[in-house]
Amino acid sequence: MDWTVFSFLAADAIQSGTIYALLALALVLVFAVTRVILVPLGEFLVFAPLTYAFFLPPAVSGLELGGQIPGTAWLSATLLAVWAVLERGHPRRALGLLLAAAGVVALAWVGARGVPLWLGWLLAVLVVLPLGPASYRLFFEPVRNATVLVYLIIAVGLHFAYQGLGLVFFGPEQYRLPAVWGGQTNVGIVPVNNQAFLVYGFAVLAMAGLYLFFTRSLYGKALRACAVNRYGARLLGISPSQAGYVSFGIATLISAVAGMLLAPLINPAYFQGFLLGLKGFVAGILGGLISYPLAVVGALVVGGFEQWAGYASSAFKDALVFALLLPVLLWRSLRSHEIAEEE
C-alpha cells in the first residue's frame, strides 16, 4: 500500500465514517434516554431519499410515476392517526395528531405534483420525520418498563416490518438522485465529491447542535436527566414519554438528513439502510453506547477498518468489520465490573 492508495482509502473512510458517526450519535442518544436500541434507524435513513425520488420531475429521476404519492407518506399518516386514537383522552392533542396525519399526506401530494428540487428535498424529510416519534408512541411506550431485551426484540421486529414495507413501497431496484452540489474537488491528489463536503458540514453542525442542546437548553438537560436516572427525572416532573418522543424525533431527523445527503453518492435502495445502521451500531458499541465522542471515534475506526478490509480481502469485508466487535466487547467486559442494572 503506497501513499496514493492510502489517501484514496482514507478519503472514503472519512466519508463512510461520518455517516456511521451520525447514526451512532442518534443510536446513543435514543439508547441513553429510552434504553431502546433503535435498529430501524437505517430504514429511516433510506426512506427519506427514496421518498424524495417520488418528488423529482421525471426528467431528473428517469421514472414515470404519474404523481403517485409515496408509500412512506401513507405509513407516516397511518401511524399518526393511530397515535391520535390512542390519545383520545386528550381531544386537543388527538386533533393535532389527526391534522398532522392529514398534513403529511397533503405535503406528499403537493410534492408528487412536481415541486422545485429544494422544496421536494424538505418535503421528503418532513414526510419521514413523524415515523420516529410515532413508532415510539405505538410500539415502545405501551411497554414502558420493559427490559432492554424486550425493547431490542421489538426494534428488530420493527426493522423487518419497515424493510418489508420499503420493498412494497419502492420496489427492489436502486434509485438515482441528483446531487445538491455536483462535481468533484481535488484535495491533494484525491478527487472528493462535493456532495461529501455537505455530509461533513451536516455532521459538524449536528454534533455542535447536539452539544449546545444538551448543555444549554432546558429540554436537553431534561433528556440528560432522563438518561442518568429515569426515576429521579420523573420525580422532578420530567415526562419520560416526552423525552422518548424528542429523542426519537432527533434521531429520525439526523438519520433522514444524513440519508438525503448520502443518497446521491450511493444510489439508494430499500435494503441498504440496515447495513449502514448496523455499522453505526458497531461504532456506538465501540463507545460503550454511552459516550458521544467515543462513538464518533468508533465510527471513524469502523469506516477506516472497512476500507482497509475492502482493499486487503474484499470477500470478507463485512465479516472483518463485525469481528471488530469481539475484542472490544471482550475488553469491556473484562474491565467493567458493574452489573447491568434494570429498573
Binding site: A11, S16, P172, Q174, P191, I266, A269, L276, S314, K317
Partner: protein, 391 residues
Amino acid sequence: MKRWFFLLVAALGLALSQQPAPLKIGVVVSATGPAASLGIPERNTFLLLEEEVNKRGIGGRRVQFVILDDASDTTQAVRSTRKLIQEDQVVAVIGTTTTPASLGMIDVVAEAKVPMISLAASKAIIAPVDAKRSWVFKTPQTEELMARAIVADMKERGVKTVAYIGFNDAYGEGWWTFFAQEAKEGGLNVVANERYARTDTSVTGQVVKIIAARPDAVLVGASGTPAVLPQRTLNERGYKGLIYQTHGVANPDFLRVGGKDVEGTLLPAGPILVAEQLPSGFPSKKPALDYITRYETKFGIGSYSTFGAHAYDAWLILRAALERALKNANPDNLAAFRAALRDELEATKNVVASHGVFSFSKDDHLGLRFQDTAVMVQVQNGRWKLVRMFR
C-alpha cells in the same frame, strides 16, 4: 318446445363431454421476492401465450397454464412443483426463475418423471446430463457462453490484462469460475479478483486495488442496479480503460440508475436485446421482434425484457414437442405421455427462438449454438447498441 330444449341441452352436454381435457402445463416463476424483476415478465409471457394458443389449441386440445409464484424461495418452488405434479397432473413443468430453486426442483421432477424446462442461468442445472437431469432442459444462456463472448470481444479489442469484481454470492462466484477459465484459454492475464456485496454502499477499497493493478479492462460480475456501483466508483477514481458487465444488467433500470456513469459499457446479451438492429439474416430476429410486438401490445410500449423472452423460448420448444408427442401418445395415460414428451423434447432440432436456435441432444440440454445466441452490446447515449456478432 320444452322437449326441444332438453334435447338441445343433452346434445350440448354430449358435445362438451367429448371435448378432450385441456393439456395442463405447470409454471413456477418468481413473481415476488428479490428475483421479481425477472419473474414478472415471465409470468406475463404465459398469460399472453395462454390467450393466443387457445385460439387454435394444440392437436385439438386446449392448453392451460397453471402458474404458481415461488416468491424467489427454493422451498416454495419445490412445494409448488410437487403440487403441480400431484394435484394438477401437469404434463410438463416450466420454471423457475432462479438457479438455486431450479436445482431444488430437479429431484422432484426426476422422481415423478415429468419433463421440466428451467428459466435460470446456471450450467449446473443441465450438466452433466445424468439420470435425474435427463428430465431437465433450460433456455437461458449459461455464464460459460457469455464469458466466451466477453473474452472474444476483449481479444478483438487488444486487451491483455483484465480485472474482475463480482458479487460475493453464487452469481459472482459462478461468473468468476467460467470467466477465469475462458480468460486463461484466451491468453488473457487476470491481474485482480475482487468481491463486493449486493447491499454495499462503497467499493472504494476494491476499486483502488484494481486501479493499482492497471488492467486494460474490468469485468463487473453483478446483476441489476447494484452493478452500477463498481462502475461509478471506477469512473470517479479516474479509471480510463474498458468496462464490461454481464448480461444480468440487461434491463432498463440499469440504464436509469447508471445514467452517464455506464456510458460505453460493453456487455454480452441475447440477440433479443437489440432485435431491431440485427441484420435480416440473423435467425432470431423474426421470433424476437414477433415476441416484442405481442408483449408490448398487451403490456405497453417498452415493457418487454430479455428475461420474459426465455419463457417464450421455453414455450416454443415445448409446443413443438407437444405437437409431435400428441401424434404417438395419449395424454390420458399421463405417465406414458410425460415420458414421450421428454423424448420429443430431447429430439428438438433447430427451433428458432428469440434468444437463439435450440437443438437438444442426449448430452446437451441447453442446445444453444454460441454464434446464434450471444452478441456484444454497448451502452451508447443511454441505449443498447449492437457492436459485435460472432457469426
